[in-house]
Symmetry: D2
Subunit: 479 residues, 4 copies
């Protein structure tokens, strides 16, 4: 089931000495796991001494009690879950990156994608710098540390570095004494902060991570803002703020974020319900039941049902023990892997006209199988509705969309797609519709480049993307 890959999640904590500070980060990362399942890491700061651990794998597998124990006490910590968009799937690319420099140590956790990392890296290399990973996070580190030499404070260095790094970044920086949140001037990726009842400050990619550690949401980090937590309290640096229109990634609402998160003042679940409602209005059809593809289509299905007055049904059971299943090639032809993960409840769809809701169609193969499952279970008609427009353009801001050759919407008309996946009809949410779903006010605009090709920033040339990978390739053992 090829899907759009999610990207990364970041989490930071600034408080008083806590012998189990990594445990809090662990819980935070755990609630951000949906943003990245390839690798994860935590760095703990104990009076300027940094201990870190990172590895490939899920939070629960990597952070055993033994590891949490060893990370020891500290008052500041930062964590990361990763799905790599730049840099291969390797242990060495796991974050936070922890570096040592003339003024001490720095840990950096980053969500996004730097559009000029190739240029920056080349510049640093020309000065004799060496790179040990293929990730743009290492490039950002260099950019900051270079400025650190001539800056009084780490935040000053971050502020200067932000003049150079372009693209999408929501990042958390830990210095010996401070925790810093920084967000690019477009605000592509979400970043918010809150406070626990014990007085600890929490920075996280999504508000659901604040909830999970019992922190109260305070507000989103502003686009371009640098927020510094230190001994003197909180300081906001707004030098890069209001330098352009906010262009948050609309896919966060449509696809990435957890439904219980609130981004830019808008609850994700509600946004998806609303997408379903708009979809119902844009693409109505007579039917008996509305079912969502679990879990991505459930919210929109509820919205569609609400707006259309067609009953909502639970059409599929998803096997919740699904992990890394393997299947022998020769068995593949006989066994339907989709069916093992997703089984229709025949009683819900038998003899009925079904509206099937999902949030996207990538290659079309999964949709085709799901439509077939419904028909085999007795559905008389299957009308597919998608709660986002077809995405047909590459993303340079931290989302890993499949290549054009694989994207069904790049190759076929909507009618052709409907036919290919075996649906009686097919409707996508319009671009106009998608703009409404997360709407709060005029300021909170969206990046919709993947739908319409209008990029809010300069974009890199295609050839750059995997340049670093070509040169250096670590491998990691699959476990």
């Amino acid at each position: 089931m090829p899907k759009i890959k999610e990207e990364c999640g970041v989490f930071g904590i600034y408080g008083s000495k806590n012998p189990r500070i990594a445990q809090t980060v662990y819980f935070g990362l755990f609630s951000l796991q949906h943003r990245g399942q390839e690798s994860c890491g935590i760095a703990v700061n104990n009076d300027g001494v940094f201990k870190s651990y990172k590895d490939l794998g899920l939070v629960n597998d990597v952070f055993t009690p033994n590891v949490i124990e060893k990370l020891g006490e500290g008052n500041i910590a930062v964590g990361h879950v990763r799905y790599g968009t730049t840099g291969g799937n390797e242990r060495s690319n796991a974050q936070p990156i922890v570096v040592n420099h003339i003024k001490g140590s720095m840990a950096l956790a980053h969500n996004g994608n730097i559009t000029n990392s190739y240029e920056l890296r080349s510049q640093f290399e020309a000065k004799g710098s060496i790179f040990q990973t293929t990730s743009d996070t290492e490039v950002i580190s260099y950019a900051i540390i270079e400025e650190r030499l001539n800056s009084d404070t780490i935040e000053e260095a971050v502020c200067k570095a932000m003049n150079k790094i372009k693209g999408a970044y929501s990042m958390i920086i830990m210095s010996p004494q401070k925790l810093i949140a920084a967000r690019d001037k477009n605000g592509f990726r979400p970043l918010c902060y809150g406070k626990t009842s014990k007085g600890e400050y929490i920075i996280a990619s999504e508000s659901c991570a604040l909830d999970s550690v019992g922190a109260e949401f305070i507000r989103d980090i502003e686009k371009g803002e640098i927020l510094v937590f230190g001994k003197e309290g909180i300081k906001s640096i707004k030098e890069h703020c209001n330098k352009g229109k906010q262009t948050s990634c609309v896919f966060e609402y449509v696809y990435f974020a957890r439904p219980d998160s609130i981004i830019e003042g808008k609850n994700v679940h509600e946004a998806r319900i609303k997408a379903g409602e708009i979809l119902a209005k844009e693409h109505p059809v007579k039917a008996d039941v509305v079912v969502g593809v679990p879990d991505s289509g459930l919210d929109a299905a509820l919205g569609y049902s609400k707006a259309s007055k067609i009953p909502y049904g639970i059409g599929f059971i998803k096997n919740k023990y699904i992990g890394r299943t393997f299947i022998y090639p020769e068995v593949k032809s006989r066994m339907d892997k989709v069916k093992i993960k997703l089984n229709p409840i025949a009683n819900v769809v038998r003899g009925k006209r079904v509206i099937l809701i999902d949030d996207s169609i990538v290659r079309g193969t999964t949709s085709e199988r799901i439509v077939k499952l419904l028909r085999d279970a007795g559905a008389t008609e299957v009308h597919m509705r998608v709660s986002a427009p077809p995405f047909i353009n590459p993303c340079y801001y931290g989302t890993d969309i499949d290549s054009k050759e694989n994207l069904i919407a790049c190759k076929y008309t909507i009618d052709e797609i409907a036919k290919k996946i075996g649906a009686d009809s097919l409707g996508y949410l319009s671009l106009e519709g998608v703009k409404k779903i997360g709407y709060v006010d005029e300021k909170s605009g969206f990046c919709t480049a993947c739908f319409d090709g209008i990029y809010p920033t300069e974009i890199p040339t295609k050839t750059d993307k995997n340049r670093f990978e070509r040169k250096i390739n670590h491998i990691d053992e699959e476990k």
Copy 2:
């Protein structure tokens, strides 16, 4: 979150030589994983030579490609997933049990609980028999093999043994040449069979396992029936049939089975929707939204909403990466483990009167926390509704209900429970109501002993239950 423990799932296949027969069993067990997560096993029969593998852990963890490979080819195979109700949580108690006897080998996979296993075991021990596990499955094996000496066929031995073994059992027996399904005369636990397009016969605890391997459901095994798959085709032995009223476990509908399964002709999802509908009629209340506790309360919540016309809402996000989380004792007081697994969507419940649906209240502590989560998220009223009656009696048929001291319903009145969990009101489905939910016809009665104490068979005295454990204790390393 103490819950009623599920029990076991069995799966068998009879077909032609297949070099990857274990792969099919693997997929079948995978879809039965909800019935037991402690241990699993597969035995493959290759022309009378049995190979087996079993271990503690989930299907996906135990059955690596390497293990599947080694189990090799065969034409008959049997598998098991286990949560132990008798016998400790040990590797040695994993099933299927494979024994060697005068007439060859036999593998046995069993779901249920033998009520006279203590007596039978004592009788065998008095003859010099030795036992290497503490499970009643070994006792059943002895009962069958003892009869095998004086029987022409394995099925004849099974039939005679069924005169001796009492209680609940749905089991699959593999002999050198046959695959046999047998179900106790009360039909406590489900068992059904079907056929793949390739002509393989599949026996499974639930029809969802047939679906997962592409087999078409044929019918349930009848209560008391012995169904034999062999070279001469299928043979049904009905000597033990119709020796009493069917008393299927009602908890299969309420709690254990997967919603997409069909048991005794009734779809589980529909039964739960119906439970919600009846619950709405029995315990109506004015409210703004109906939310279910994921995943156990979702179906009934949909039914309640349907019958009450109060809108259905998705009230919680369940972290799907939850596995074996650990938490340091000193952190426990500050961190809410329930909250890490379950986060309310505040926008759905804020300022609203909420009806909260779950399928049971065991100790009350989890319900208390969930009610509190809703209130903290802004719910103005929380009315809890439970889609089953309070269970207050021990089960001797394969369900592991907590001891009376822990069951909140054994200690408090409904009003007291409501107060304890912090709900504005509380309503349980009535016993009359529960009897209707899986209703098909007069023949398909239920065992409701856990609710009303009316046991359909003789029950063992309390002291027997853990007798074997006291004497012999294997340990298993936690991984």
Copy 3:
């Protein structure tokens, strides 16, 4: 490097309550690891409650601190290391076997091989008994438990069972209150006991295990003796003693036992030195240096040097980090696996006439490579001397000698073998010579069947050996 496979080691302790009794067994097994590297197990007895753990692997890998912890306290315990001679290499065949019977529990650890296990097993099966392993240890268990029904004590049952079980067995039996050592009337396999300064009694296959736990050697268990450790002290039952000539396995001295062990009053290292001395007299040759193949040929080489006055040299370095190395098939042709494990010290052999000592030649391929290594390193002549006669007959007493087709000595004359392995000359210790090496007095005779085909007991017919394996086959995952 195919070698004669070693067999099993047993270890038992009887003392007062000890919260870490498994730790002592762990150390004992650790020093017996050379007797079996396939699987190991420990059973601990805490007031009649048995806890056990066994698995495939080395003692150090299986018995992690966590497992030792869980085995808990006790005053009696028994352990086993295994290389299986009957029964496949499977987890289910690991020992000690722990069984439950009418009078409680029994754990059994066994070294040897029962020659009539097929007949006994068939008899038990004919009575309805079931077998869950393919090892003869389960057969012994049945034999004892059957007698237990009509015996006042466990030792009485053991004594009666010994009338039925034939062949080689040195075993330790743990009952709820006693620890029992029993040895067959021929005394094939070693078994001794001692006492720690804390007053604990230790039973072990070899005296080196007594040393490792700080116990003082008391004496060997006599052939046919049953030695009982219980609340009333030590009791020796000699009913089966002196029923025949002692025929200890000569391979224990030549091959199996650790050099620091004392068996039947004779130190193994001294026996091997003596073998070398006799060998020097039987097969003298002019040479410059005597080198042994590590580690098996070192002692005899020292003896040869001593008797011949030819200097002893350290001719090879054995890589001590060797474990389970793998090698790609296509690499095999180029890489010499022997060379990776064993590298000659060229300076020791260059330009010299070398006498090369080993304890056996099995298939000849390893010897061929070692001779070649010496020549490549510059040896001008290589004279191979073997500190035991050629073995050409199967062993039915617990040693796994390769099949006749593979044994080079079964197919070729000594001159032919010399030519095949590339040696300038070859000499084996004579049968007369071998009888002298462990010689203590007239009573302590040897079984030399593998050399001369004179079996001290009835032997089973060839077809029996793997009968059980054919019927039942567990598999175990390689880790």
Copy 4:
């Protein structure tokens, strides 16, 4: 048993395309495992694309077939085994270090210790460089890459960098097209090269690694030499040669190297035999048997025996299955961990005057226990002889000698030490003696700083050593 820690081993191969090139490196590292057991790594170069894998653990555990497979084909590769002397025991400090720079990739494997790494690192940091490890290997990388900017070739950059890096280094550098060996001008650590019959060039720390992969030894890399393997053949750069006296580490002969290796033209085994011979002359004593402590004292014991005409005996059996044993603290007092690993053969020493040979006494506790083992086994006298002088000074060239507070020779006279360890007499090899053992000619001098405090180079101030560790601390999970 605290011992002097060994340091590192390096291995490189330059040949034609080989789909299993990592397998060859694996075998090479395997034979160098004695030089470092903490971590290991391999980097493979496939037409300029580098793949690498490194982790904590032994070669056999880290380089599973799966990992070897993934490293894929290549024509150049470099490997490393590590015991860290600078930089903590961490995964991030494992080598080879692989870096990316303006001219491509570079992999670096290093054995030794840079004495001015603190200064160099500070200089780089002052230019904005970031460091991700605490090892001096990263500092060397920077030194080379900085020069690479203004050099035509990598070897030119290496040559220039060697003007800056001071101390001990034998290193292998892999560039996109070349393999380079470089050795410091003092020649502290060994490094040699050879050629396989297939024409591949092999560079290795010790000649035993050449043997293990079937390569013929050609010669040692000269002190100060840079040897380049590339498309144009082999090129030697001798700019740094003959800039001072050779001061090879004498401990390589005494302690570190494998006996079958030849270093600077001298076989290690022979050197140790000779040390024993000299020791016999320097410290003669009347005795009945000479025994060595396995494995470190065996060679010298043979030499002592030879020179003194006192018979050589095998006094101890070392348990070869020893790995990471654990022992409960409360058991420690009762159990003798030394005894578990080392058991005396009583028959060899009983009633005898024993000369006990070892290569060093560090804290004295192990020697004390071994002397006691001999006495308990019946030795009437125990005369300890040590085949090296007492080391009393820290090493700055890659050997991890315990701190002065722990070194028994820093605190007591020889007579006091003899008394402390319970020996009847004690003799150390003299400094004059040690200089003779590896003697080849006038050019091949030794560093004997650990014995006499005469350091051949400037040494860093004490405070520097762990500076980096203080700032940055990765942790690694123990497995």
